[in-house]
């Protein structure tokens, strides 16, 4: 187990390095730069800025110093948010994005999985149809529409929820729902279909034939296996949701980090894009590792060393 973990962590670090490298050079290949302005800056100023941020050095030297910074968790200064480092930006915005994302992820799991199970067990009943109708709606309606509707109905018309921000705790409700929409629906659909499939398996029939109580059949035997595809989806989903959503954060005016993914690119704020990419990738890789660990816990037939799969 320890050997496996070490191997995985080393692979993860290597993957991150590759991602950082590719992103770094791709960014420099796109036209425009952090100091491109509608009213062009005087040459002397561009020179001063390039010198200040070491952008006048050869690209490879810049790359090396970036990687060196990365190893010490120094993501460098933002070129557009004056005086702020990427670390400052992440420290300021990430907790907010992560809190909203965390609540949303938790609710997706806590609500989505049971809904899927209920639907599978009561297949083709009105309950099933209702859940699946809602789930189809959730998958097809984009989050910015959900967000706009929430604001229109609950803030503008009814006045129940604040119209922007999260200074009032009620402000979390809208963004959490808008963030959940798609994944909640997807998870419940996935759970349902996976559960239905498992329930048709021989070993479930055997368990039932042996007179094991229905509750035990479902929760001890069927559910564990049915959850494997769900977990495969939920892992990366958590990484995506915790690192914030540009659309949801923009519409609800939330000071998270979601906006910097897009703003960074528009502004050619190289370090910000790099920082966001590395942060998201690190999360993603970590979640995949967790998913793999969860597999072996759920299904002992899956061996971590990768032998008897």
């Amino acid at each position: 187990m320890a050997k496996y973990l070490i191997k995985r962590v080393l692979t993860a670090l290597f993957t991150l390095l590759v991602i950082a490298t590719i992103t770094f050079f791709l960014l420099r290949a796109i036209p425009g730069g952090p100091f491109t302005r509608e009213k062009p800056l005087p040459d002397a100023i561009i020179r001063a800025l390039n010198e200040k941020y070491n952008l006048d050095e050869p690209l490879f030297i810049q790359y090396l110093s970036y990687i060196k910074g990365l190893l010490t968790f120094d993501l460098g200064p933002s070129y557009r948010i004056l005086g702020y480092t990427v670390n400052d930006i992440i420290i300021s915005g990430f907790p907010t994005s992560a809190l909203i994302g965390g609540i949303a992820s938790l609710l997706i799991v806590v609500i989505g999985i049971p809904l899927g199970i209920v639907s599978a067990l009561k297949q083709n009943s009105p309950v099933d149809y209702m859940v699946m109708f809602m789930a189809t709606l959730g998958v097809t309606v984009p989050n910015f529409i959900i967000a706009t509707l929430i604001i229109y109905i609950f803030s503008t018309q009814l006045g129940w929820l604040p119209s922007n921000g999260i200074s009032n705790p009620l402000g979390y409700i809208g963004p959490v729902i808008a963030l959940m929409g798609y994944s909640l629906s997807f998870v419940s659909r996935l759970t349902r279909s996976s559960m239905l499939e498992v329930l048709r398996q021989d070993y479930v029939r055997t368990a039932r034939a042996n007179g094991i109580s229905e509750r035990k059949v479902i929760f001890k035997h069927a559910l564990k296996n049915a959850l494997i595809p769900v977990i495969t989806y939920v892992g990366p989903m958590v990484a995506a949701i915790l690192t914030g959503s540009f659309v949801v954060e923009k519409i609800f005016a939330i000071p998270g980090i979601g906006r910097y993914f897009v703003q960074g690119v528009t502004n050619r704020d190289y370090t910000v894009i790099m920082g966001m990419t590395v942060l998201y990738s690190a999360f993603y890789i970590f979640m995949i590792l967790l998913v793999d660990l969860a597999y072996s816990w759920i299904d002992p037939r899956i061996r971590l060393e990768g032998g008897a799969r």
Partner: protein
Amino acid sequence: MKKLLLVVVSLMLVLGLSACGGKDEGDVLRWNIGADPATLDPGLNGASDGGNVINNTHEGLVREINGEVLPGIAESWDVSADGKTVTFNLRESNWSDGSALTADDFVYSWLRAMDPATASEYSWIWHYTNVVGAEDYVNGDGTAAEVGITAVDSYTFQVELIQPTNYFVSLMAFYHFMPVKESAVDAGADGTWAKDPDVYVSNGAFVLEEYKLGEGLTLVKNDEYWNADEVGIDTIEAKFIDDASTAYASYQSGDLDFIPSVPTDEVAVLIAESNEFYVFPLLGTYYYSFNMDKDGNGVNGDAFDTNGDEVDGLFVNQKLRTALSYSINREAITEALGAGQVPAGGFVPPGFLDDDGNDFFETAGMYGMVVDDGNFDEAVTLFEEAATELGMTVSELITALEGETLLYNTSEGHQFVAEKVQEQWANNLGFTINLANEEWAVFQDTRSAGNFDIARGGWLTDFMDPSGLLSIFESSNAYNDPNYYNDTFDQLLADATAATDESVHFDKLYEAQEEFMNDMPIIPVYHYTDTMLVSDVVVNWGRSVLGSVDFTRTSIDRG
């Protein structure tokens, strides 16, 4: 289940009520700034969002509200007989930390703003101030000692100009020229001092109390402000909501009193129905540049060489450019946009008064153009003549134009205008030009590199003289996107700048714009407008002609 729902709903109501009540909102202004400003440091700032904050936290030599130039830190000023020396007599005033603000503070602030090491976004404006030695210092060709600004004594600040500059005093209301305190600036590098309430020092109506990255900021009244008696607001709670729909919803919910922009779809309704919606002319122009120097050799040469290969391209032909410009129904475009934009017949927008007190835009006229489709027939004739001059038949010219591309930066609004233009050309002249868009930063690169046929342009000026607009088309100007090279035009602008007499200055500018419009290197489309939605509870708010909001004399009346 029902019980649970009841509990949840009542909990929400209680929480909601407690959030609304409690605080006395009497003298609090709730304002949406829009985007989170990159900086709040007057010397570093280059954006309107930051400028709106700075205009209320700092005070320059003068203050301009609704076009009127009022004394600021300068109680009065004298201009020498030759117009080249301006002496500002400063009032005794304090910084927000209680220390005295003197002429030395202005010397420090200005030299800092010019210093290339400061890397101020707006340092290019020093060229237009005509302050002796300033431009050289900005460009790294001169030293601070050579800049013609002096603190004669603690309260006398003297500026030497290269030549008389009629707009110089009004320009001093602009945020770039507002003073900053050296000890505060030193306390937080790269302008971080201006976002850190612990070290923040200013001299305006308000001081920063709190700043939250990406969320909002709080300003409170500065009791040390020289004109504090007139400040009627105790606290400004400002948000950084960059989504126009969200800001508008917040305004409708009563959570905001002042928002700078509304969703485009709402503009027409608001103009018709709301008495809280304001439309202001903005000193700028939306236009298309023809590329007149495709080979990039700095000369507007021939369209094609003897082999028929492209040299500078079709748009070196003046009649073709004019035909294209005449084939645009500007009124149809501005009406469709519906935010009060003014159809443009020249480059200088409404709002500039000449030496006789007449509006430059009105006096200059449209140079034979009309706002609607009235030039369409003339355009067809010009188009035929252009074909002859280019040695083509009309159908060959049409084919050639269908190989050209109109480029704009990706945005629904720009696409909308481009499609209108494409349609009008197709209907009137019979060719369908290609449309293409590029992401903003890529577009700027393409445009300044001259890799386009026709490209969108937009220019907003920052000081009260038409030369700030026309001069971008001088041969050597970095923003001369059409690559327009006309010595007569350059000379007229140089004469206007050198003129010591106001009437000569404006005569030359009128002549310059006429020369320019006869050549038609660009297609002016419309002059910009600025919109604001302001609740009736906000009393006596102001706006500078250049577009910064002003709360220094505002009060709140919630009845």
